[in-house]
Amino acid sequence: MSAIIIRQGLVVGEHVSAVADVLIVDGRIAEVAATIDAPSDAHELDARDCWVGPGFVDLHAHLREPGREAAESIESGARAGALGGYCALIAMPNTEPALDNVALVSYVLERGARTPLDIAVAGAITKERRGELLAPMAEMAALGVRLFTDDGVGVQDPSVMRRALTYAKPLGVRLAQHCEDEQLAAGGTMNEGALSGRLGLIGRPALAEELMVLRDIELVRLTTAPLHFLHLSTSRSVQMVLGARDEGLPVTFEVAPHHFTLDEGACASYDPVFKVHPPLRSPGDVAALRDALRRGVVDAVATDHAPHAPELKDLVFDEAPAGMLGLEHAAALTFEALGPAGDPRTFFQVLSRGPARIAQLRENDIRVRHSAHGAAMVSGEDANVTVFDPRSHWSVDRNTLESRSMNTPYDGRAMSGRVRATIAKGRLVVDQGLLT
Amino acid sequence: MSNEDERQARTRGLAFTAKSQLLTTDDVTRAVRRMAHEIVERNHDVVSLSIIGLQTGGRAPASALASILAEISGQPVSAGMLDVSFYRDDLSRNPLVTSSATNIDHDLTDRTVVLVDDVLFTGRTIRAALNALSDWGRPRAVQLAVLVDRGHRELPIRPDYVGKNLPTSQDEAIVATLEGVWIGTREPS
């Protein structure tokens, strides 16, 4: 593998950032210094005025394979991820059939190994994600699965969730929860409030999420097992988890770009591209999430990338499936939310280092041949690096996405900041904003 | 102009600016009287007439004609009003006008209908009126009385009784009421 030399970008370390050259040889960061004499055959990457940091890690991507390849495949998802600056994706288990056993987990790991990225798997907590009987978490963990969730829905029965936490703890794996009480959510299609009433749509109240967050915080307290909260969408949810974390409970949380960029007002058009669970919330909730990002208290940004075949999003709002794309736009939206005073360290913390720690991808894993992610940007580390250009201005066109699907809510939106290059496991996968 | 006319004009989004007055109130009164005599002379039997004014410009002239005819002949004269908005064939050219009432309380069969309007121009309003009338019954004959004929016909329609013939150009506008006749322009308001 030939060498890559990244010139004069702002190299964002865990504590300190400095303008420097970064030399990558044989899949590793060979050297980080003010100027480097690179080998003559090294590929030159001009990173002036750009940020250079650890490649992004998405804790939450729906790659739809097996079962719904018309919407996305592991391969097309990986390409979309690479364009978005991602070097590792965690594939969610709500495929058809669900990833609740070693055969299916192996299948996904094997398909993922053919992509340039590291594709890790989140296994299901319960069999078929039905929320009743525990899935073989130990067997799946032996294959390298470190995160388990029934995502799409949360585990509704508290006794099942308690048992799952108790079982998971000694295995050293982490559970993750989609917090929404399905009974309270009442089959709703958007946030419950004045707008849902006016539009004649059944609402999903914020309490449906907050009640389960509260419940699971207490279950963590009871079992002392670690838990990761997926896509928290309300101000109160974030407050509660921050409070629990401050108390020393082993909880982490992620926020999704759509929840800190769009609010429920988007649903007034009845365009199903804006339908998602948990739903787009009130402007106050959006402001609270953005504020938490800026204060640096958010553990991770995760895309909840949810592709759907175009004809499905052509249905009426009630009948269309929930979920929107995210991989290709998360970085720009995170950059925008952090604002002009945004610290590049926070940027890489929420997109890379935080998620890498939660997914236990900081060390390389020989069983699944995954490299290490969330690097400190020093020599010797695995070369998963993303170059981000904060001065780029561009706009989204749903027809030119790398994903097989088109359900992005940002079509036509003006964006600031773009991934210029993605180096996954030492290979240049994206250069000048395009796949190589 | 009456409130109704103003409402109609406003609805069309056009305001009339007068350039000069061509007929005074007295001129119009005399013309209407003369037309009434012509109607009697031609039709003899006033009882079998039906004086139908077209909304909205023909309403007042029709009323005036009907009462003068009753005065001259000493007999009651049947009258009514007809709204033709739903019968127009040129809706794309003329913006929708708010419809007004149609009020015809007698049978038109075997009667001679005298349609009355303020200004005769392209003839399309009269054509719409003929369509409308056919839904009301089968008159023996239909005649047409107008205060002003300004030319520029687009259909083979000719008036039987005219208050005043006024050659005009296409882009001029005419307002004709019982108070007088003005020429001017119509501009988007």
Binding site: R198, L199, G200, V316 | S92, T98, T102
Partner: protein, 336 residues
């Protein structure tokens, strides 16, 4: 239902879609009522037809079955001399899950000027209007969202009856008769598109609106509606000039929202005793079909029959007015 930020207020439906009454200004609503007056007159003639929409094609697309409303719209279109393409989609081969876009594209390929739509999902009419922007879309009822022509014909009926009582005409009165008029709406407001359209029309026209219903049948967001919630049904009945009853669907009275139909009648049914508390000349209205013995006692029905029959008969002139203003106002020949 207050005008939210960025709301487009429509001053006239001429040449425009009619999707929701909460987008219309007072002038727009009065224009429809005034135009409907002329069509009431047309409907009294022996030849109940005018050529206003001759040569235009109106498709009626009812994804949710409703013989009465569909016939009312189709009659209105025919009396305007339009050609009518009737698709009772609920009983056709279109299954749930077939794309709305495909269904409307198929019909549009036949060349239509307007579509009247009823669908069980809120927002369906707006979605269709985006697929075929050159076609005028008239919402005949979408999920729990709006039923604009029902709201309009209810307002028209009130204006008609009150102007007769005050010896004036609807045209002359404009919206004056609604100012301060006391209107009470009773029943399953939460799930009712008729309620949303009625409240929009009445409040915009200047009436004072109160709602009365069991707690579970009031909308979650009722605090943002331009209404007052009446806690005492009997007091509200004595206060009202107009009482609008809503149909309680049997599945709502099966225990999830209300214990039973008889429990609903006990708390909010218009029984004979309750009807006696009403003002002697108060109007009782119902969008139909009535559940006798549930929201209204049979004996009370007969005393309110005349008003309900007016509502039904006013449906055609109101729908003629809507089609005329919306379609004829679009200009000829644009879709052919």
């Amino acid at each position: 239902m207050d005008r939210y930020e960025g709301a487009v207020v429509i001053e006239s439906i001429r040449g425009r879609n009619l999707l929701s009454l909460d987008e219309l200004s007072k002038e727009a609503i009065v224009e429809v009522l005034d135009t409907a007056e002329s069509f009431v007159e047309v409907n009294r003639r022996s030849i109940k037809k005018v050529p206003a929409l001759k040569g235009r094609v109106v498709a009626s697309l009812f994804f949710e079955e409703s013989t009465r409303t569909r016939l009312s719209f189709e009659t209105a279109a025919k009396r305007l001399s339009a050609d009518v393409l009737s698709l009772a989609v609920a009983s056709s081969s279109v299954k749930k899950g077939e794309s709305l876009r495909d269904t409307i594209a198929t019909i549009d390929a036949l060349g239509i000027d307007a579509v009247v739509m009823r669908h069980r999902s809120s927002g369906a009419a707006l979605q269709v209007s985006r697929y075929v922007p050159h076609v005028r879309v008239i919402n005949g009822g979408d999920g729990q969202h709006q039923h604009p022509t029902q709201g309009l014909l209810d307002a028209f009926t009130i204006r008609q009856l009150l102007s007769e009582r005050h010896d004036t005409t609807g045209l002359e009165s404009g919206a004056a008769l609604f100012k301060g008029l006391r209107i009470l709406i009773v029943g399953d407001i939460r799930h009712s598109r008729v309620a949303r359209s009625d409240v929009a029309a009445y409040a915009t026209l200047g009436a004072e609106v109160r709602l009365c219903a069991p707690g579970t049948l009031l909308p979650e967001d009722v605090a943002t509606w331009p209404v007052t919630v009446a806690s005492d049904f009997d007091d509200a009945l004595a206060w009202a000039d107009v009482v609008g009853l809503l149909r309680l669907q049997s599945e709502r009275g099966s225990g999830a929202f209300v214990a039973s139909l008889s429990e609903f009648t006990f708390t909010h049914g218009l029984t004979v005793e309750r009807a006696r508390r009403m003002k002697p000349d108060a109007l009782i209205m119902h969008p139909g079909p009535m559940n006798r013995g549930v929201e209204i006692d049979s004996r009370v029905v007969d005393s309110s029959r005349a008003v309900v029959e007016r509502q039904v008969s006013n449906g055609v002139p109101i729908r003629m007015a809507v089609l005329y203003l919306s379609v004829a106002g679009s200009g000829e020949g644009q879709t052919r």
